[in-house]
């Protein structure tokens, strides 16, 4: 197997006196699609933010292509971030910019791209996520939840990233739009050699797009394996798939 692209080494995150993650270790390999599942508040989004350096671990280390994020200077960190696309839970579109400017933002900020090329790339990405041409001039406040997610995805893909991070990409969407987003994630993966990490609560998304599932329980990793293994076992030894907490989450049952 090739070298891991992203490595979490005994990572801990603490806010004030509250531990969110403790001693989490994980390797993510190139072109894998990994889904993080687990109950709300167990630190899944924190993990995504650790990967892109938006959050600093209070313990342990995060490595990108074998290099610790702590060792990167500002310029190197920016270069690393430009290789990572991030679809935020709320899409995080810039309110004061229209759709075109949102998607073009990263290209313009990076510099060195001709205006015509920026325009062509934006049109291409909007088409890729299935948005009509007329949407370019709309403001984020005029878009539906699903459209916002698609614009967010187009913006994340505009810089041709090697890694895509999706934070609950289907949360708040109807079943049809959920499937549209799932298809877009699959399509993104097939069109380019991209490594994907998806935080989700949707088991349908896990089954449809993930090669590997990691389940988190408050503070740490509980189970890991291929999607089917989470149902049927055997997992990697951290816990059996028969663990009542795994079963409870997968089956979506309230506590015993």
């Amino acid at each position: 197997m090739s070298e891991p692209l992203i490595q979490l080494q005994s990572v801990g995150v603490r806010f004030g006196t509250h531990d969110v993650l403790r001693g989490v270790s994980l390797d993510i390999f190139p072109q894998q699609t990994v889904a993080f599942i687990g109950e709300s508040g167990c630190g899944k989004t924190c993990l995504l933010k650790l990967v892109v350096g938006l959050l600093q671990p209070t313990a342990g280390d995060v490595l990108f292509q074998g290099k610790s994020l702590r060792s990167l200077n500002e310029k190197e960190l920016t270069a690393m971030r430009l290789r990572v696309g991030f679809l935020f839970q709320s899409a995080a579109l810039f309110d004061s910019l229209n759709v075109f400017d949102n998607v073009a933002f990263g290209l313009k900020a990076k510099g060195g791209v001709a205006e015509a090329d920026v325009s062509a790339r934006v049109v291409e990405r909007l088409q890729e996520v299935g948005l009509p041409d007329g949407v370019r001039v709309k403001m984020p406040s005029e878009l539906s939840g699903g459209m916002r997610k698609r614009v967010g995805l187009a913006r994340a893909l505009a810089l041709d990233p090697n890694v895509m991070l999706y934070d609950e990409p289907t949360t708040g969407l109807d079943p049809v739009m959920t499937d549209v987003i799932n298809e877009l994630i699959l399509q993104t993966r097939t069109k380019r050699p991209v490594t994907s990490v998806i935080v989700t609560h949707e088991m349908r998304t896990v089954h449809k797009v993930a090669d590997r599932v990691v389940m988190f329980y408050p503070l740490s990793r509980l189970a890991e394996g291929e999607p089917q293994m989470i149902y049927d076992g055997p997992p990697d030894g951290l816990a059996t798939a028969a663990d009542p907490r795994v079963r409870q989450f997968v089956e979506g049952r309230a506590g015993a």
């Binding site: 892109v52 995080a92 309110d95 933002f105 900020a109 510099g111």
Partner: protein, 275 residues
Amino acid sequence: MASDSAQPAPGIVSSIADSLVALGDWTAFSWRAVTGLLTRHFKRRELMHLCLVVGLDSVGVIAITGTFIGMVLAVQAYSQFHQIGLDTSLGAVIHMSVVRELGPVLTAVMLAGRVGSAMAAELGTMRVTEQLDALACLGVDPVRFLVAPRFLAAVLMIPMLTVLADIMGLIGSSFVCLRVYHIDAYHYWEHTRAFVGFWDVFVGLVKSVAFGGVTALIACHRGFHGTAGAEGVGRAATQSFVISFIVILALDFVFGLLANSVHDMIWPPSGSKPF
């Protein structure tokens, strides 16, 4: 018992420690923002827009505030000065107060309330909706990109707003003194000319620049550190105003002492003021 009372309460120690940490964080944040003026993240078009928001949109409220401050000062001071027959000195006293103190301080307070709170709320909302994180992911430093132009817009616009407040205060007070109380205009203006000089205007404007810069940096810092939800955004806006207000008053005191010391160094008290 005695030893207990000698020990500071843990709550006080942690509060002081927290305040020092926050001050250090604000200083580093401010340095990053100010140095951001020299980087590629700084956009002139954004600066123009912000100058309009900070400056032009504040003209009305600053003009009204300045006018009423001048008028109120005139009404309050007249009864005292009239009793001792110093009506014509009112111009000097009121205009000195407006130019050196009330003009810069009230303009800065209005700016903190009208613009600072809006900046804190806007940036706080951007934080809550992860727009600040999105900027960082797109290779843009949010502090340099968002705070640097806001800081510069405040620093550039506040002296102009202060001059407006000064002029309107002068007009308001003159109207009351000359038209309502019929004070002799010649002596009123002569006293003003004799006592209010370039130095007073200069000190007022220097103070206003400092107030504007600090207010913008406090507002942006609060916005960046806002907590989640509507309550967090509201709290950031409130904190921005309250902290700015206290800092403006504290800075005004420090500037007052400093300006007097500098004045006495350049023009020793025995000598008359050259201008």
